[in-house]
């Protein structure tokens, strides 16, 4: 390793980040195991549940997240090329998308809740067995994902300020890259949530 290796070990930092992403992957993996098992047990109820979810909210949010993923990726390339302004712009786009996503989610959830569909609700208990499992999982999975979106947005904001104050720059951009990696993971998880919950009809 080079002399300054301690702080500038890019590979090491990225390796650590990737390992962390694996843990996130497995965290959601646990929920996907449950999903798989219960889908197998209650195919009908899951279809009925999926029917009640709004594809437009889900699809819209998918597009929002994909776009935000693009914008971070572009932002990173921009910083690598030394284009700080574009990078910052892109970061703001990403953070904006994250907020948009959350607003969307908020409306979606409140619509569901006003229909009496929320964990432990009396309405759910009356539905065919399995449907309440579907919605339980839906709330836990999207809730956990929502927390990650929030966290991701927070991290990106923090990195954006670092970029602004030139603490992260063309010659030292791991922090940005790692934040980007985290954000992509959030997107990845959604890529699976979307078809599994909104599109089983």
């Amino acid at each position: 390793m080079s002399e300054a290796g301690h702080h500038k070990d890019y590979e090491g930092a990225k390796l650590g980040m990737w390992l962390f992403l694996f843990t996130e992957l497995l965290l959601f993996g646990g929920l996907f195991i449950l999903y798989g098992v219960y889908l197998n047990r209650y195919p009908e109820a899951f279809k009925a549940g999926g029917d009640k979810l709004n594809v437009f909210f889900g699809g819209g949010n998918t597009v929002v997240l994909l776009t935000s993923s693009l914008s971070v990726a572009v932002g990173i390339s921009a910083l690598q090329k030394g284009n700080k302004k574009l990078c910052l712009g892109m970061l703001w786009v990403t953070i904006g998308s994250a907020l948009l996503f959350l607003v969307n989610k908020f409306f979606e959830w409140s619509a569901k809740i006003s229909h009496g569909i929320y964990p432990g609700s009396a309405h759910l208990k009356e539905m065919i067995p399995g449907e309440s499992v579907f919605f339980g999982l839906y709330y836990i999975t999207t809730g956990l994902h929502g927390i990650h979106v929030l966290l991701g947005a927070g991290i990106l904001t923090w990195v954006a300020t670092l970029v602004r104050s030139d603490k992260v720059h063309q010659g030292d951009f791991v922090t940005l890259e790692n934040a980007g990696l985290y954000w992509h993971l959030v997107d990845l998880v959604w890529i699976f949530i979307f078809p599994l919950y909104y599109l089983i009809l």
């Binding site: 390796l15 990737w18 597009v63 993923s69 971070v72 990726a73 992509h184 699976f192 979307f194 089983i200």
Partner: protein, 95 residues
């Protein structure tokens, strides 16, 4: 080893192309879900999601340009997850 730890810079145009591909796949998955393929529906949805995942990982997350070690790690993590799911199903399916 280059100064910036293989700081391969990806073109904007590549990124945008990938993004477009992702949108197309999203549309496809919605469309496919409208068809009634029986049990195949879920597999189709998963297949498409996996394609999207590979695109994101390879380009947005630069995995294509990282060194072998990273790719191995990713592989290990995915295999682990698959095993967890797979072995669980030996119980659930045959109960």
């Amino acid at each position: 080893m280059s100064e910036h730890g293989q700081g391969h810079i990806i073109n904007y145009s590549t990124l945008v192309t990938v993004w477009l591909a992702l949108l197309v796949l999203t549309a496809t998955t919605v469309a496919v879900s409208r068809l009634d393929l029986g049990a195949l529906n879920i597999w189709a949805a998963l297949g498409i999601a996996c394609c999207k995942m590979s695109l994101v990982v390879a380009f947005f997350m630069h995995m294509k340009y990282e060194n072998r070690l990273f790719q191995w790690f990713l592989f290990i993590a995915l295999v682990t997850l698959t095993i967890f799911i797979g072995l669980t199903f030996f119980d659930v399916l045959y109960r």
